[in-house]
């Protein structure tokens, strides 16, 4: 259609939706939204903790209880679970991330369902996901909650986390080159 052909050539469409934004723009926006998140919800930004709550709600939905689990024992955790899926700011934020990412890929006409290249990819993805999920919960935070929000809150733990994240990334890259090249 002609409308879309014109849109494709539009300068503002290109710089706003098609091309990747500069890293600096991303950094400034993330900082602004971190401040807004802290001001409106009382907690800094976190992602993987919310996923643990999703797991708990899912478990409850099929008849399980997590009342006795040490991880969910605190009053705050219990309150979050009692309030439910739809009243959790973190849930809304995580859904927003997923929908926002989908929107940005669609509007840049960059959406594609990729084919799986090998079983190695599947094994690595599942294994990597499990390790990241387990690590994020046993460390009380992922690279958002523990690293980014930690450093933003002037906590030393964020820097310690960052140092070990770096070591992990080096080991991960070596493994990647060894198994996927």
């Amino acid at each position: 259609m002609k409308v879309f052909d014109n849109l494709k050539k539009n300068h503002y469409y290109k710089i706003w939706f098609k091309d990747a934004w500069p890293y600096l723009t991303g950094a400034v926006l993330l900082s602004v939204f971190q401040i807004i998140t802290l001001a409106t919800t009382g907690n800094p930004w976190g992602v993987s903790g919310v996923l643990a709550n999703w797991g708990a709600w899912l478990y409850q939905a099929v008849g399980g209880t997590v009342d006795k689990w040490y991880y969910f024992a605190s009053e705050g955790a219990q309150r979050t679970l009692e309030n439910g899926f739809l009243k959790d700011p973190g849930t809304m934020r995580n859904l927003g991330i997923i929908l926002g990412a989908l929107f940005s890929a669609l509007i840049a006409s960059g959406f594609k369902i990729k084919k799986i290249k090998s079983w190695k990819q599947v094994v690595a993805a599942i294994l990597g996901g499990l390790l990241m999920g387990y690590g994020a919960r046993i460390g009380f935070g992922c690279n958002i909650g523990a690293l980014y929000s930690g450093i933003a809150s002037l906590s030393l733990s964020g820097w310690v986390y960052g140092a070990f994240l770096f070591i992990g990334a080096i080991i991960g890259s070596k493994l990647l080159v060894k198994y996927f090249m």
Partner: protein, 75 residues
């Protein structure tokens, strides 16, 4: 002068970049390497690396979410 295609469809970053770096070493000056990608972050790091290494780079959009990074080895 030959043209070599490197199929990196379905590969996540940084695999396309490392594969392209290895492949370009095998090529002669004047050869062209065409890297097929469908991971949008490779669209940033592949051309960045190739331009920094002094090669000529062009990006072509093949389809929704699919690109070819065309690298001419200059030195």
């Amino acid at each position: 002068m030959k043209e070599v295609e490197l199929d990196c469809l379905g590969e996540a970053c940084p695999v396309p970049l490392v594969k392209a770096q290895k492949k370009i070493e095998e090529l002669e000056v004047g050869d062209v390497l065409i890297v097929q990608i469908d991971h949008s972050c490779a669209m940033k790091n592949l051309p960045e690396w190739a331009r920094e290494a002094g090669h000529n780079v062009e990006i072509e959009e093949i389809d929704d979410g699919e690109w070819e990074v065309i690298i001419e080895k200059v030195k």
